[in-house]
Symmetry: D2
């Protein structure tokens, strides 16, 4: 049993409250990680408000990086002392997992928001409880990293190279990978393609940087915050569109692309923007749904223009496998080809609410809590 | 100038009326074809009712097969006397045409429903007029084959082998290719995949037959007509679902597939069915929009489940190029692997209304007019 | 410990001798299978002669099917009593395994011909010994199925449906999958493609049958045995070429294909034929190396014509995963689309030498021993 | 008729001699271009020595850029006065051309080295003659750009944007596109892949720069000239290997890649290096043949290791279409992502021999003649 301190969501919509908690020792296939830093993601916020069916009280947080403190009996990798970032969990046994499409694990729903262990002899139970022994849900995205310790699946841990600071590594577990992978794994633009990114937050800016590592030659960022558009330019956008002032965003974007775009990545989760993104592409163009929307949200699609060769493609967490995508992003970062550290703002562990507010105001792009 | 007899739509929603008409001689890049037989397609019907923006009065018909009677000055292929089927027209100069994606020609709208010549020195003008010289729109899908003669682009003509009767060839120009190409060009199912076909009309049954020429092992046909479902079975469906009696079609289909389907082809154009088709697939599954819906129709898509790795893909006319797809279907037919002649019912040239009624009642699956 | 009777290769080039042997109980991740039938493959023969580096004395055989008799402690699937066929072994932990490309496991060499356990606490040791306790190598392709019992990895076992006889299932473990998968997983021919198969043995005829489950329309089989060519025709070859009488095989094949072939599958392992297969394809065509050649063999490739867009692609065991490919082939068999049982001739367990001789003479195409 | 001055190869192996020549006026589909600059390519040199079957006397040169002086009757694009670079010629009518695979035109041999017009009413005749009316072969790669004027196919001309100097544009017609397209069109490396480039000349360095526009993270350049390796580093190689000093190049490269490489591009045309490149990749790895070798050269391939999932793929001129690839490279250049101008050294038009010598010594990487 390990004593930990965690930001707990006691009930839906409540503020995060910091509590002493207890975590079971790692069982087979599990590791215990001392969290050094954790990103704060839009998904943490919407989960608190019930848009993901995570039961409460619960420990959230899903972009954790830290040092392995203990491992289950049969775990050969990672080892105690290893520096790791905690990727998305997966069952490893379904057809998609066997094909290396871990993001689309058939048991993904339970794995990320069940609140309990996915695998092993104690599957279906939470390893978490409060200091006074009350029940507590954890295992959010297999990690519940808003805490000083995280219990995670060994299979989801990705090694962090020695020259990469742990306090930038966490966001590669989710937000940064989500944008980068949507471009590098799913869209895979070809020579001279146009890539339009709606939403220049952490996900969208990661997509912009990723697009510079493809032969796409038109990279358009759309957002309402001029500061984010400025950053998009610095990170490789060839054009930017200020949606706050532009009367017809889709028209403007199509003009910049010389016609319908080849790829439009929707990274805002705002339904009106989703519909713009679909309208941005034409025959043989692809609209990728990348950003999460509120539970139950739906969007309207024109039948005729969609049937005329359009593609609408959902992408989860950037697709593929963490243990390929994350090391790729570390390497690109090291080579100066993916400077994602520029998106990070640091906050104290106790300041998760401040971090969320800053993000909400469009200031912090990717808040990271130093734990 | 050639005298022809044609089924003319005088005004929107009017019945077809048979008229003597005149057609200009073929210019550069054009051929004149004596029509031997022409398929009748759902699209002819909805165009008459205004769902495609074809101006009236007009000659419709777009699944013509016949014999080349005359060719324009510079035309080297086909030659006079050649037996041809008239595929979809295309400009040959846009990016999609240059990539061999003729179906997604950037000028497709004008090419199929402009009512005038697409290319050449008289582009923008109709080659058609009534016997008394009144204006008449033609060039529907580049052919207006509900007539004894058709003026078409040489580039859209596909040679019909000697051993293939001309009166079965016409539907390969559109309906049969639409279903078959959606499977063979776009879906391209892999080992053990499941393919669900909504709508067992000419398009859907062509998709079923095509699926037997892939390694898909679960092929489900859904329709409300038991006779069509019976035919689907004979043509290779491994399972059929009667949507008229089944309380929850999507659930039934998912059970047959052992979970979400890999591919769902929507061949009805009915919005409620479109939404079923989208619901039929799950993570990494693909819903293909194949059948045309009324103008202005739209459908509703759930954001969350779509973002979780679903793909919605529009397919026009089966994708690809007529001059590859149609010869493939001829060869598969000859080898007994694609017995599309079983879908055909013959009608006299004068009986286009009867053909449409029979089709509407679910009797004739693919009516062909013998001209 | 289990007593078994096995066909043992005592030393290189020696005849198979039947011996009583002992096998350790299954450890973690392992299963013990009572062998009901086992295919005999060209690879067994060449391994006996040293073309694979399997140490002797050894038990060979790698197309086993049977009933699970016992399972290791942690094995949840398959269960005792299950009917299984034993696919190729794989480590499950290398990059290729994680991508579902089990055939290209980084540890494949050890896995198929190391002679010892690949995984688990006793990795590197053989579970086999003679009845008098002398050392014996086993684990050939993770199974050593020329025996009444086989110790295998649970992960390589594929369930055999109740309606499939166990005595036809074995060859799906290797030979039949090798030909079928080369077409369905690797070549994946498109509309109207030509597929040329050199060698109409079990592998090549499986490729022919597989090609009929693709939109390829020209399927050419080349062999020296008229009886095999006749069978190729019955199984779907559109053309056959008798290499024993045809003066210029490549020329003849190119004529049948109307030019260079799209795909040539080399299933003989004879170097002269490999060079023909490469010559059979042209720009954007693919020659697949499917059949094993003697150790150390090499072939000569013309630089210029290869650089002009040719592709030479090695394929192992049909690529992909047994647990996808084998169930696909069961389903296609059941639907009459892959009648691979027509390739099988049965022999008594004691008659492995007779089976190999019959195969060598071109009589038995796929010998199966009833154990 | 246009008077031009050209570097003529009078007979095989002879030096280039500058002569006054005459060129016919452009016919249908043709344009006359005043050459402003032309790259000098390895292929010019080996053609002079008979490794391409171009008849002599002939005008070579195939990386021309200039200004359109006149156009044939039916040519609508480009127009007189347009700035263009002359890409590879193609027939436009074969299956590969129709698929947009212009590089693999079925008539490529005639198109590049026939010495006569490929298309039009005077197909099969040369438009070139000496000032005294003697026969002269031209149309080398559809352009014969070692001259003050070039007669070319309108379809092969690619527009040069106003902000791109004409004197850097020529090499995009062949050498630079060959290396870049092999990476961007054919290899298309994915996340974290390794790309090894044998030969750091113009083709290889273009490949290195191209690789930085993909998510490949290990980019290795191999050459014998330290200065080229230094440049490779500056252009994005993550590692370099000096083949002049390294005892076992393949071993060294594999170490840098952490095992067999994902892609090896052979850009030297030296057979010993081809065999190294094949040995550099392993299971599921691809060796691309990019550089031309002497006529009749062949290489030896080990059967077993190739069959174990290796791919050997020939690539011509970078694959794809000039009118997509060249504009892509212009755009990447403008964005600082493909600084190919760093490879160029300028020579006077009269100095083609000096240019070739400099290139041969490993000094000039991509010589360009200012005409
Ligand atoms: Zn899973
Ligand atoms: Zn997240
Ligand atoms: Zn077009
Ligand atoms: Zn139609
Ligand atoms: Zn492995
Ligand atoms: Zn075998
Ligand atoms: Zn061509
Ligand atoms: Zn060149």
């Amino acid at each position: 049993m390990t004593k930990s301190r965690a930001a707990v969501v006691e009930e839906r919509d409540a503020a995060f409250s910091y509590r002493d908690i207890e975590i079971d020792e790692p069982g087979p296939g599990e590791i215990l990680v001392r969290v050094v830093a954790t990103g704060v993601c839009h998904t943490d916020e919407i989960t608190r408000h019930g848009d993901m069916p995570m039961p409460v009280p619960a420990v959230l947080g899903h972009e954790g990086a830290g040092v392995v403190e203990a491992v289950g009996d049969d775990v050969t990798s990672p080892a105690v002392g290893d520096r790791v970032v905690l990727g998305w969990p997966f069952c490893g046994q379904c057809e998609h997992c066997k094909d290396g499409e871990h993001r689309y694990c058939a048991r993904l729903g339970e794995a990320v928001a069940g609140g309990f262990r996915l695998l092993g002899p104690r599957a279906g139970q939470s390893a978490y409880r409060t200091a006074d022994g009350s029940p507590l849900h954890g295992h959010f995205f297999g990690q519940s990293s808003f805490a000083t310790y995280s219990l995670a699946l060994a299979s989801s841990a990705v090694s962090v190279p020695d020259d990469i600071p742990l306090d930038i590594a966490g966001p590669l577990a989710c937000g940064i990978s989500t944008g980068a992978g949507a471009v590098l794994n799913t869209a895979r633009p070809g020579c001279g393609d146009s890539v339009v990114v709606y939403g220049a937050g952490a996900v969208g800016l990661a997509a912009v940087m990723a697009a510079t590592n493809t032969p796409a030659t038109t990279i358009v960022a759309v957002d309402k915050h001029p500061s984010r558009l400025q950053l998009a330019r610095e990170l490789g956008a060839t054009h930017v569109v200020d949606a706050a002032v532009e009367p017809d965003v889709v028209e403007t974007v199509r003009d910049l692309c010389g016609g319908p775009a080849d790829f439009a990545l929707e990274c805002t989760g705002v339904i009106a923007v989703v519909e713009q993104a679909v309208a941005t592409v034409g025959m043989l163009g692809t609209c990728l749904l990348v950003g999460g929307a509120p539970a139950g949200a739906s969007f309207e699609v024109d039948h005729l223009t969609t049937m005329w060769g359009k593609r609408i493609v959902g992408v989860l967490g950037g697709g593929g496998r963490s243990d390929r995508l994350v090391p790729t992003l570390f390497a690109l970062y090291r080579q100066g080809r993916f400077p994602f550290d520029r998106l990070i703002s640091y906050f104290d562990f106790d300041d998760v609410e401040r971090a969320l507010e800053s993000s909400h105001r469009g200031e912090a792009i990717k808040p990271v809590l130093r734990v």
